[in-house]
Amino acid sequence: MPDTAPADAQDTMMQPGGWRSLVADWSSDQRAFKSASWGKAMMWIFLLSDTFIFSCFLISYMTVRMSTVVPWPNPSEVFALEIGGTSLPLILIAIMTFVLISSSGTMAMAVNFAYRRDRVRTALLMLVTAAFGAAFVGMQAFEWTKLIHEGVRPWENPWGAPQFGSAFFMITGFHGTHVTIGVIFLLIIARKVWRGDFDQQRKGFFTSRKGRWEIVEITGLYWHFVDLVWVFIFALFYLW
């Protein structure tokens, strides 16, 4: 999509300085963000709101972790896997994190090819991203099963504060839901890319809006966000 440059001749002629120019830019005609389309702006604002949701979850988790009087289970022991006789702390989480971050890489490449209107590569890279995402969710499911087998429940666990299980299932569940939704969107949009919907401006089934290549980039924004959030969950839940 052609990025519309802020070619506002008037504004560039009389340049006020400092704060005033900031305000003038923002409040200028028609659009506050000149190069952002409606969809992209909407995704950014949604992500801002979603950031607040995740922040509230994480802050709440940290609060209960501090308010409970029972000792907190040691994450590096709980999340260790026995592989070939040695217990490797956090190994599964490390792999999951690696997979998710790789998926951000493939997503970025997909966006790049979408800019070049390369249908096949874009679609393939989106499928790879979706596959990484699905692998992540799969490993998470494995981790959940393992912990449940070991007796971890939202309301109790064998090693200490019951809030451990509560926060774990709630936060990873909420994040995993985000990843799952992302995977579904990736699949739908990869299909549309493949079929050439965006070259023919085929109308959406529900919205009857013309399909636009830009949606790949918007999906990318979401995906990178979900990835970034994971880094915080990883740091605050597993490493603390």
Binding site: R31, A32, W38, F52, I53, S166, T207, S208
Partner: protein, 587 residues
């Protein structure tokens, strides 16, 4: 008008915009029921909000009956009373005011006032309404669920909200939390639309600093809601888990009926923080649209440009930002470090500065204006009076030492009803009288409107003003029955009976308004396109009520700010925003 050589707009090339594919409905069903037109969605939101608001109104009568004439009505036992209080408070704040201001006024006015054809994502906007309706239905369902609706108070504080002593513990609390979560999801869908429409879909010439203050108010409130509701959502999810799965996010170890519960180690205060991180901004989520609308009502009906427009905008934004750092003033009695109390008291008092500034600007706008005491103007003036009243008592309650003895007394009830009950409701009425002609093409009946105003305004004062006094006496809030209390004199009971009688009268007066709404639909005076001679774009539509796409063949081009009233040298005493004449504020 695509080729107008307008200095402000022409240089920007028409962006590769989604505007070109406006959705066109094909059947009656997609036009009026599953409509994607923001105007229809706005009306749907408003009607739903008013309907559920009526439920909350009836609940307030029941509470007043009990408070005024304790012991007379058997069916209002203590659990029922708590359920009434809770549902009344929550419905009024969230399902009526928030939905009506943002979903109702927002949907109707944002595209029209900005010269847009519709919201940016009409389909998502439509979903927003239906999810809101679902949230309302889930809430209503709790009245019929076994055990009835929750009686935890609108603040839903755990642990009591989850414990078996509280009415509605079985289903009520669950349905309430689910309904809130649905509301937030639905609101987010709409809210994203409002924000992006304001930021990215204005018509040519409509810079942010030319937007009517109504839009500034709704816009800022929506941004705030998008940042504040997450806290409530998270709180609701965690409490649901506590209630349904037996987690202990908010639940400390407890003994209930001699039994040690399975809960332990959670933090009830955490919920209070989450709730009020939402709850305080929520006050401004309903106040800021009211501020904006009142500014426009005053300017229009006093034929005066708004005094200090830029200041007004900055004040709105400043209030919005500050309101995120004051939440713990609701928690002074929950116990906190004195330094925190000091911090939150200070920030609370600082908010008074931009708020007072807005007040002075309204007064200066009125000063030597050509004031027409139309019904919308009466309500706008009523708003100013009640808001000042509530704001002043807010300064009392913002101070820790004053708040501690007054907390949980009728003084608090008086305060918040003045500031966020009566005041925004005044604006809603004013707004409805003002914009009804645009929605329907007919004016609401003036005489009925005046009766409605005076009964409501004076009545509201008679109801809530004496409550300050009751509060100072120490009459507690959320009490089913005062019983024999040494410090409450008999006269307080008489006063309570008086308040109840007035409350019922005011309630009946609202029926006049409802009647007016329906009656004027057919019999109201024909309004024409611009009955108030207003400048803003919604009054300049080619048709009234505005048609699909709002603007006929071409969107309007804006040449000036929204407040060119009584400009010296102009032909008429107002210059519409899309009028290219050189006089007035065209900069």
């Amino acid at each position: 008008m695509g080729d107008v050589a307008d200095a402000a707009g022409a240089a920007i090339p028409h962006p590769d915009s989604e505007e070109d594919d406006l959705y066109h409905p094909h059947s009656w069903l997609t036009k009026y029921v599953f409509s994607q037109d923001a105007k229809v969605i706005g009306v749907q939101y408003s009607l739903t909000a008013i309907s559920i608001g009526m439920v909350a109104l009836v609940l307030s009568w029941l509470m007043r009956l009990q408070l005024g004439f304790p012991g007379t009505f058997d069916f209002i036992d203590p659990p029922a009373y708590y359920q009434f209080i809770t549902m009344h408070g929550m419905i009024m704040v969230v399902y009526l005011l928030t939905a009506l201001f943002l979903g109702g006024f927002g949907n109707y006015l944002i595209p029209l006032m900005l010269g847009a054809r519709d919201m940016v994502f009409p389909y998502v906007n439509m979903l927003s309404y239906w999810i809101y309706l679902l949230a309302v239905l889930v809430l209503v369902a709790s009245f019929f669920a076994p055990g009835g609706p929750t009686g935890a108070g609108w603040t839903l504080y755990p642990p009591q909200a989850v414990l078996s002593g509280t009415p509605g513990q079985e289903w009520g609390i669950v349905l309430m939390l689910v309904s809130l979560a649905l509301f937030i999801i639905g609101f987010t869908m709409g809210g994203l639309n409002y924000v992006v429409t304001v930021l990215q879909a204005r018509t040519r010439g409509m810079t942010l600093m030319r937007m009517p203050l109504t839009i500034w108010g709704i816009f800022t409130a929506t941004v705030m809601a998008l940042l504040a509701f997450p806290a409530l959502l998270v709180g609701a999810v965690m409490m649901l888990l506590d209630r349904l799965l037996g987690t202990s996010f908010f639940m400390p170890s407890l003994v209930e009926m001699g039994q040690q519960l399975r809960y332990g180690g959670g933090s009830p205060i955490l919920f209070q923080h989450l709730f009020w991180f939402f709850g305080h901004p929520e006050v401004y989520i309903v106040a800021l649209p009211a501020f904006g609308i009142v500014s426009d009502l005053i300017a229009t009906h006093a034929r005066r440009n708004i005094f200090g427009y830029r200041m007004m905008v900055w004040a709105i934004v400043a209030i919005g930002a500050l309101s995120f750092v004051v939440w713990a003033h609701h928690m002074y009695v929950s116990g906190m470090h004195p330094y925190f109390g000091f911090f939150f008291a200070t920030t609370t008092l600082i908010i008074a500065i931009p708020t007072a500034l807005k007040l002075y600007n309204w007064l200066l706008t009125l000063w030597r204006g050509d004031i027409h005491l139309t019904v919308p103007m009466l309500f706008a003036l009523g708003f100013i009076v009640t808001f000042v009243n509530g704001g002043l008592t807010g300064l009392f309650l913002g101070n820790v030492v004053v708040d501690v003895p007054l907390s949980d007394t009728m003084f608090v009830v008086a305060h918040f009803h003045m500031v966020m009950g009566v005041a925004p409701v005044m604006v809603i009425f004013g707004g409805l009288y003002h914009w009804y002609p645009k929605v329907t093409g007919r004016l609401l009946n003036e005489t009925l409107g005046r009766i409605h105003f005076w009964v409501t305004f004076l009545g509201a004062y008679l109801i809530f003003f004496p409550m300050h006094y009751l509060g100072l006496l120490g009459v507690p809030r959320r009490y089913h029955d005062l019983g024999q209390t040494a410090f409450v004199p008999d006269s307080a009971h008489t006063l309570n009976a008086f308040i109840s009688v007035v409350a019922l009268t005011v309630g009946v007066a609202q029926l006049i308004f409802l009647f007016n709404l329906f009656w004027s639909l057919r019999h109201g005076r024909n309004a024409g396109g611009n009955p108030w001679n207003a400048t803003t774009l919604e009054w300049q539509t080619p048709e009234t009520p505005p048609g699909h796409g709002n603007w006929g063949a071409a969107q309007p081009v804006v040449y000036r700010w929204a407040y060119d009233y009584s400009v010296p040298g102009a032909e008429r005493d107002f210059i519409p925003q899309n009028d290219p004449t050189a006089v007035g504020m065209t900069r």
